[in-house]
Subunit: 89 residues, 7 copies
Amino acid sequence: MAQTNNVPFNMGKKPMFALQKDINKEVTIKLKNSLVYKGLMLNVDIYMNVYLQNADEYNEEGKRLTNYGDIIIRGNNILYIQANEGLLK
Amino acid sequence: MAQTNNVPFNMGKKPMFALQKDINKEVTIKLKNSLVYKGLMLNVDIYMNVYLQNADEYNEEGKRLTNYGDIIIRGNNILYIQANEGLLK
Amino acid sequence: MAQTNNVPFNMGKKPMFALQKDINKEVTIKLKNSLVYKGLMLNVDIYMNVYLQNADEYNEEGKRLTNYGDIIIRGNNILYIQANEGLLK
Amino acid sequence: MAQTNNVPFNMGKKPMFALQKDINKEVTIKLKNSLVYKGLMLNVDIYMNVYLQNADEYNEEGKRLTNYGDIIIRGNNILYIQANEGLLK
Amino acid sequence: MAQTNNVPFNMGKKPMFALQKDINKEVTIKLKNSLVYKGLMLNVDIYMNVYLQNADEYNEEGKRLTNYGDIIIRGNNILYIQANEGLLK
Amino acid sequence: MAQTNNVPFNMGKKPMFALQKDINKEVTIKLKNSLVYKGLMLNVDIYMNVYLQNADEYNEEGKRLTNYGDIIIRGNNILYIQANEGLLK
Amino acid sequence: MAQTNNVPFNMGKKPMFALQKDINKEVTIKLKNSLVYKGLMLNVDIYMNVYLQNADEYNEEGKRLTNYGDIIIRGNNILYIQANEGLLK
């Protein structure tokens, strides 16, 4: 296991693995084009492709535009995923 | 099988595999350029390349523009795929 | 062979393989820059690079601009390939 | 071990490994779209995907816009990561 | 050898291999930025990097701008390569 | 070892290896967005990710804007790295 | 060794290998952003990363802007490399 300055470089600590804990929870996803999607993250892979259930679309100002049911967002469009659970910590 | 916080990191749960259940069903595909295509998803691969049968093209406002028969959309143009079945859940 | 919800994840069903059936047939190719090319698809690879014979170029409004003979289009410029056969199904 | 002009090409000295020392510390992340995020970097991978805890968003002029709790930023949006510890050296 | 609908998926028929027949012949190369280069294609690789001998540059309207001698064009800038031989078929 | 016209294709001569000699020296880094960073290059990898110590930011006109301490610049934003030592040769 | 129409598909003939003959010679490099750099190409790799010695920068109109000493240009910014030797052939 590679180490740098006594910090173990541990696969289990990487962000895409850590994101697994938010599966089956509500997340907010912001795209590069400024649109925002909220829904239940059924699953996510290492490219950040996301299967989002009961997805609501919002514009940049936070206005809810529509509901899409299930959408699969292609990861390369994503700016960040907000783990809503995080807000309560 | 790698795990994080007791959540199994299971290939079978990844979004591109989950999307396989929507093969041979009606889907709506939104591209980065804002155009929308609706049709029967005959197949899809891990890059999100999609073979779409009887594809209708719509503009951003939802107006139907034309029918293309069968089109193969290159995955890197896709913003998201909407599983229409999802709307009925 | 991996499966999800009893749908076999079969390489032979993937879109780029399915596209092989349209080799030696007339196709219409739309590029990201809105130009359209029609011709005989002599071959295509998994990156969607296409060798197109007797290629006619059209602008976005459908006006024929010129004939290029044989052109090899680099796949990453392509929005979608329309299988003209599909129109007759 | 490959060498050039007596400089050892040592994996342990590479920037993404060196960045591991800043895990669990405050960092500032500037995106290509000019937005800035500050928070605790829980982990980071070789693509610069970052799990950021208690993330504050700032605009280009340094005005704090909002707090997002935990966000996972997709690495390809990042311009640079500023190790705040570095400021005190 | 994989097959789909009795169409052999033959490496030898792929577009980048077919393009090898145009080595040492005159080609026309259109870039994404609309500039056009004509010259002798000394060689080409699978990324469409091209070594072009005695290259003339033309603008979008077909006006010859200058001669560059030998240029090596990076493949990712290319829209398509026109095999001039094809025009005579 | 592959050769072309008697020129050995030697890994040790490649640019990213040659750049290793500039580690622990002052460099100037120009980004695609026209901003310029000067500092001590602590390390660099084959993607041109750079760990820059005591980094000063300059605008396109050469005006010093601020000091960032340590920053890790993501390589895909970089236009070029100027080896300041080179200026004295 | 794969062949197509009796044209050997020979690694030694590929453009990036052929470019090796121009190492240690004067080259002109045009970037996607229209800036031009002239200097001695000390080395180049398969991504077209170039180590350029005594590099002069020119604008699109051919006006010399400045001298940078040694610069390492990231290959993905490059439109083409002009082998100046080629001009004399």
